[in-house]
Symmetry: C2
């Protein structure tokens, strides 16, 4: 969505950052997963911005979404064309102010940007795991992040923040490690996928698995299932936008044409845009990772996992302060789902602020420049920081 | 959607019907298409129910949607498991009363249920057209229907009725042949596809074209692109439902399981349902027809084609009375699009009734049993019939 980002609004970047790695669960140790399976060793790619204070009390953990990575802000190299994915939010004086906070972001396990996932080499076979990689959950992602915190000697998180699948990790952290979490900001997220969200994910997975190059997930020594992954991304991308944003951005405008072609192929701008998004995605993302992470998101169900079906009971495990944010045009995780979450939090007398931001850009709005969101987050963090 | 249909509500069926064929544009004649291309001969499969009165003034033309066919009501054979696709609406005493009206439904050109389309044999090559079939438009479909009316000696249509892509044909008829159309009932439709609707169609088409069996559209002597077509259908099917209907029907219920499998494959009921819909569809539908009809729907733009961009100007060509119906939970062709249409009709002082039906079943609601819709249509047709 980088084309929406007005770099003038981005302010001062955090500058040059480094991609760090941490490996744990090294043999004979293993990371036990919720499925009952285990993996090891597990490597976590992560990035930090800002300075950890001596009390180690200024830590903010940023949790990324489906296709994100640990590179949240700044540049690896001054020549990089683009900064990290949330550079508009993380940096000196920004919503998450790196002059004040020590901000950490790690690549989720199951992904493909440095952390262990299906494209990683299985040390037992010296080949890529492929689909021999066990299914993972949002809880498993959080366990890996917890191991990273232990490694960094961090026992208290001033705040957790993440949108979409990142927001699910935020919520999972709050119920799994309530004593570590002071505050949490779940953005544009849900406590469980609706049938509609599962449906889109399943069709996207089917598109990948229908690609003959997918080869049951073992394609790392041959051709990749690029067509399938591009289609999966296009399906996903539609759900990240909204009827209104697509009408404003594309409408029925034709791409480099003044009249209909009467041929198949992209001729409406929205078609070219989606194909472009699909083609960009296959250069940076692994098809199996798409399968694993979407499945983890579909499995996530806070009420069932922690409350025997009751969301109120699940949130009774939490102790943190919350800022919950939803967007008016987000039809993937609509506001009513955030409201359910907020209601269950309030029934537990948790300190929760809720804001529905009026935005036309659909689910992706949480990644776009917004003074409203910047100020909400800045104010919320200042309050939490002052209290502690 | 037949599982939703309560046959008790269906009333008396029209009984045994016959699939009829009519061929025109036989060499050296050709049907000229809007693209500038032409085809011939052209065969139209059609069905009639009820009796044509001596004045030929009781004709109702039913226009089917994307995946429909001419078999709208009754049974071809007493042993058939299911009647025609709109048997709940068309029959003695039903919304479209075959005791009063002579009801015609024809398969659209470009389709694959008897009318000429990409799977038909091109007499010039003695092979299936495949993608050598020219692109068609909603206007071309209407031209073929007009030829059928001429053949049947019908010069006045008491009413036209159709939902979705069928509704587009209704509207096209009204501007193309205003003197023939007394009244028209466009249901759950639009005067032009939004970028969102085009986006879903394009991704579905990409899924078909990514299937190696598609073979640039020439697959009729080999394996069919079943996987691609199934995925295309699944994408479409999601857009026909709604968040609410999927929550009520499926929620997060598992299929034949009590716990998560931690394996890929359909385990949520909504996943099984979509796969079932995809697998059923490939048995009866041609992948190329899916490409051609969705493209025709994407091309449809009444304002651009007939009003130099003005919908008001386009509807100034119409003379018929209208009943426009939309559904609250239809997010493919939302109510605001019907309201735009109604507004443009009213600016031309056309006699138009508009009804937004409160229904949770999304776009597909127009195909489901509804006393509300039955009564609306019955009342409207009675009014039109009495006036003429």
């Amino acid at each position: 969505m980088s084309e929406y980002i007005d770099q003038d609004q981005a302010g001062v970047s955090v500058g040059i950052v480094e991609k760090c790695f941490f490996t744990f669960a090294a043999p004979p140790d293993r990371l036990k997963l919720e499925s009952g399976a285990s993996i090891g060793p597990v490597t976590i790619a992560y990035e930090t911005c800002g300075t950890l204070n001596p009390e180690k009390s200024n830590v903010i953990l940023v949790l990324h979404a489906l296709s994100g990575d640990s590179h949240m802000a700044g540049y690896y190299d001054p020549k990089d064309a683009k900064p990290g994915w949330w550079d508009i939010m993380v940096g000196p004086g920004k919503g998450i102010d790196t002059d004040k906070y020590f901000v950490i972001c790690s690549n989720i396990i199951g992904s493909c940007a440095g952390s262990t996932g299906p494209a990683s080499i299985n040390p037992e076979t010296n080949k890529a795991y492929g689909t021999s990689f066990p299914l993972i959950t949002i809880g498993d992602m959080v366990e890996a992040q917890k191991a990273l915190m232990d490694y960094l000697g961090i026992s208290t998180l001033l705040s957790l923040i993440g949108g979409s699948v990142g927001g699910m990790q935020v919520l999972e952290w709050c119920v799994r490690y309530p004593d570590m979490v002071t505050s949490a900001i779940p953005l544009a997220t849900t406590t469980r996928h609706s049938a509609l969200a599962i449906a889109f994910n399943e069709v996207a997975r089917q598109a990948i698995m229908a690609d003959p190059n997918w080869n049951q997930g073992h394609y790392y020594s041959g051709k990749k299932p690029d067509m399938g992954l591009a289609i999966a991304r296009m399906i996903g991308h539609i759900t990240y936008l909204s009827d209104e944003s697509m009408r404003l951005k594309f409408g029925r405008k034709l791409q480099n044409r003044s009249a209909l072609s009467f041929e198949f192929g992209a001729e409406f701008q929205v078609e070219s845009y989606l194909q472009h998004q699909g083609n960009k995605f296959i250069e940076r993302f692994d098809a199996n990772s798409f399968l694993y992470i979407t499945k983890a998101a579909d499995y996530f169900d806070l009420a069932v996992q922690y409350g025997s079906g009751s969301l109120v009971k699940a949130f009774s495990l939490c102790k943190s302060k919350f800022l919950v944010v939803s967007y008016t045009s987000d039809w993937l995780y609509p506001t009513y789902q955030s409201k359910e979450m907020v209601k269950a939090m309030k029934k537990n007398n948790l300190d929760v602020s809720f804001c529905e931001i009026d935005a036309q850009w659909g689910h992706d709005a949480f990644l776009l420049p917004s003074n409203r969101l910047d100020n909400l987050i800045k104010g919320f963090l200042r309050g939490v920081s002052d209290e502690t």
